[in-house]
């Protein structure tokens, strides 16, 4: 029986890139995540949608291993997190542009490339690739302090891609970016998923971005209200848009809570 169960769990992990099981987290008395479970398959573009303060950032930080769950288990690529070796396979883009503004764009990329132990040759290749991808090649020699907000965001994305990770975790990648660039970033994310088979997690509070995800999880007050493909969710709640789904799911949650 026991062996059987183990094999069963192995089976789950082998097919999925990320599993989060019954995770709880609170800062002081405030509960931030409440019994969160989710599974993300390889090659999926997974959207975490919810208002600010819903717990999205805490959840992705836990998947990266920067926060520790109070209880529950997180596996990434079949390893229990936190795990230093797995970080080599995760490209993380934080909500704020964490860049060294005294350095040039190229120096920022080089610095992070060395942290991932890329050799000189690989560094060159990946820097060229990543900077081309976010359209920053001509601005690489400029200091980041001279970059515009959008350029900084793009550089952050390039850094997240620098070590060619299997898994991309992007925390609100399109905040403060003009519509044109937003479109091109989303185009690139879809290409990375389709052509390179990367697994991508994106947090956002914009519903039209959610529509582009394969699977969407709606997060509010530290709980996952609902999850599924955008069309599944719309059918389930018989709603015309994800906005509506979100509202209806929220109402349902309140009803459940008051019933309890």
């Amino acid at each position: 029986m026991f062996i059987h169960l183990l094999a069963f769990e192995e089976g789950i992990h082998l097919n999925s890139t990320i599993t989060v099981e019954n995770v709880n987290k609170s800062f002081g008395k405030k509960a931030v995540l409440n019994d969160v479970s989710l599974t993300i398959e390889k090659g999926q573009l997974y959207g975490l949608i919810g208002p600010s303060g819903a717990g999205k950032t805490t959840l992705v930080k836990m998947i990266v291993g920067m926060e520790k769950a109070d209880s529950g288990l997180i596996h990434v690529l079949n390893e229990t997190m936190p795990n230093l070796d797995i970080l080599q396979e995760i490209g993380y883009m934080a909500q704020s542009d964490a860049l060294y503004v005294e350095l040039t764009g190229e120096e920022n990329l080089k610095f992070f490339a060395s942290l991932f132990r890329l050799n000189k040759e690989e560094q060159k290749r990946r820097i060229a690739y990543a900077s081309d991808l976010v359209n920053l090649r001509d601005d690489l020699k400029k200091r980041v302090s001279a970059y515009s907000g959008g350029m900084k965001r793009r550089l952050s994305l390039a850094i997240a891609l620098i070590q060619d990770p299997k898994l991309l975790i992007l925390d609100e990648p399109t905040v403060g970016i003009d519509p044109e660039l937003k479109l091109s970033i989303w185009g690139e994310l879809l290409r990375l998923k389709n052509e390179e088979g990367k697994t991508i997690i994106v947090t956002t509070h914009v519903m039209d971005e959610a529509e582009r995800c394969d699977v969407v999880a709606m997060v509010r007050d530290g709980r996952i209200l609902a999850s599924g493909t955008p069309s599944e969710l719309k059918d389930l709640y018989s709603a015309g848009s994800l906005d509506e789904v979100f509202l209806k799911a929220g109402v349902k949650q309140h009803e459940n809570l008051s019933l309890n």
Binding site: V64, G65, M66, K68, P82, N83, L84, D85, L87, Q88, I90, Y92, A94, S96, D97, A98, L99, Y100, V101, E102, L103, E107, F111, F112, S114, L115, F116, R117, I159
Partner: protein
């Protein structure tokens, strides 16, 4: 490789920040030079007003480098009006002398009072010998003076400067490294670092090495400047001075980055100066420890600057060798190790691994 990448980045950031570089390398020279001139200034002769004084005494005062001004009558107001340091009155009838001191600068007043007493005593002695010549042998002739440390030309600044050299390293390294890591915290780059496979000890090591290099350069500049330009006594080996300062810099670095985790902004980092830095000065050896209350002496023992000041003074002024300062060096190493371990633990806030 990760460590060297971090060190390279820290060096690059510092080199591009010209003002911080200036603060680190030029400001200590400026302060040191200023203090050198302040402590080596020529003393101005005291001005003494006298009434009804014998000529012999007046010449005696003048020989003792006191400017004498004779008055027929004078009072306290004369002292203020004529900016005298003191007024010596001799009552014509009783021969009793009264000294009025301006005492706006107590140490100057005390020195004048002492000089006057000496001159009067010497004169009384001379008179006594005239009466009884057989006493002449008992008077003090010229005494040959020998010095264990320094010579007759050494001044307070020579003792002070080794401590200052150490203090500059401590202060600037503390501030610059503390704010350096603080900025990594506030801009989110530290968190960003923690999402890469870098280890916590690698970050701490790189910070120590990166800023340590600048601390060594600073030490060399300051010490060479002090010895060659300001002609400060350097009895021991400059290599030992660099070694002491390197250890002190490690302590300052690790303390700076440790305290930066308790500061939310640069301004809050500055608030650590009166708490963590200024008290160190009092125990660095500028004020003699022996005279302090017992609990103060105990407090001195937990100040890194106490050991660094003792070692620096030992090497630069007294010419001490490595064995004589080994106790101080070990104490500094212990401080550094404690702070470094605490730093590695403090980074757990960002990632438990």
């Amino acid at each position: 490789m990760r460590i060297s990448a971090l060190i390279k980045r820290i060096a690059r950031q510092l080199l591009r920040d010209k003002r911080t570089l200036g603060l680190m390398f030029v400001a200590p020279l400026l302060i040191l030079t200023l203090m050198y001139f302040l402590f080596n200034g020529n003393t101005v002769d005291s001005k003494l007003g006298v009434t009804g004084m014998d000529d012999s005494l007046v010449t005696g005062f003048e020989k003792a480098a006191i400017q004498v001004k004779e008055y027929d009558s004078a009072s306290k107001s004369t002292v203020v009006d004529d900016e005298l340091d003191g007024l010596l009155k001799k009552d014509a009838g009783s021969g009793k002398m009264t000294l009025i001191l301006r005492n706006d600068d107590p140490s100057r007043a005390k020195a004048l009072q002492m000089k006057i007493n000496q001159v009067i005593a010497a004169q009384a002695q001379a008179k006594l010998i005239q009466h009884r010549p057989e006493l002449a042998g008992m008077t003090t002739g010229a005494i040959d003076t020998n010095y264990v440390y320094g010579d007759k030309d050494t001044v307070f600044f020579d003792v002070l400067s080794p401590i200052l050299v150490g203090f500059f390293v401590f202060f600037f390294v503390f501030i610059i490294s503390g704010i350096g890591l603080l900025r990594e915290r506030t801009t989110g780059t530290l968190e960003r670092l923690m999402s890469t496979p870098i280890r916590r000890w690698e970050i701490v090591t790189a910070y120590l090495a990166g800023y340590g290099i600048f601390a060594v350069i600073q030490t060399i500049i300051v010490v060479v400047f002090a010895i060659t330009v300001l002609d400060i006594v350097m009895a021991g080996s400059i290599l030992h001075v660099i070694l002491i300062n390197l250890l002190l810099a490690l302590v300052a670095l690790s303390l700076g980055i440790l305290l930066s985790s308790f500061a939310a902004s640069e301004f809050q980092m500055m608030q650590f100066i009166p708490i963590a830095v200024v008290p160190q000065v009092f125990f660095a050896g500028i004020f003699p420890l022996e005279g302090m209350a017992g609990w103060l002496q105990a407090a001195a023992k937990i100040m890194p600057m106490y050991y660094a000041g003792d070692a620096l003074k030992g090497v630069m002024y007294q010419g001490a060798g490595l064995s004589e300062i080994s106790g101080d060096l070990i104490a500094l190493v212990i401080f550094a190790v404690i702070f470094i371990v605490l730093n590695i633990l403090a980074l757990k806030k960002y990632r438990t691994l």
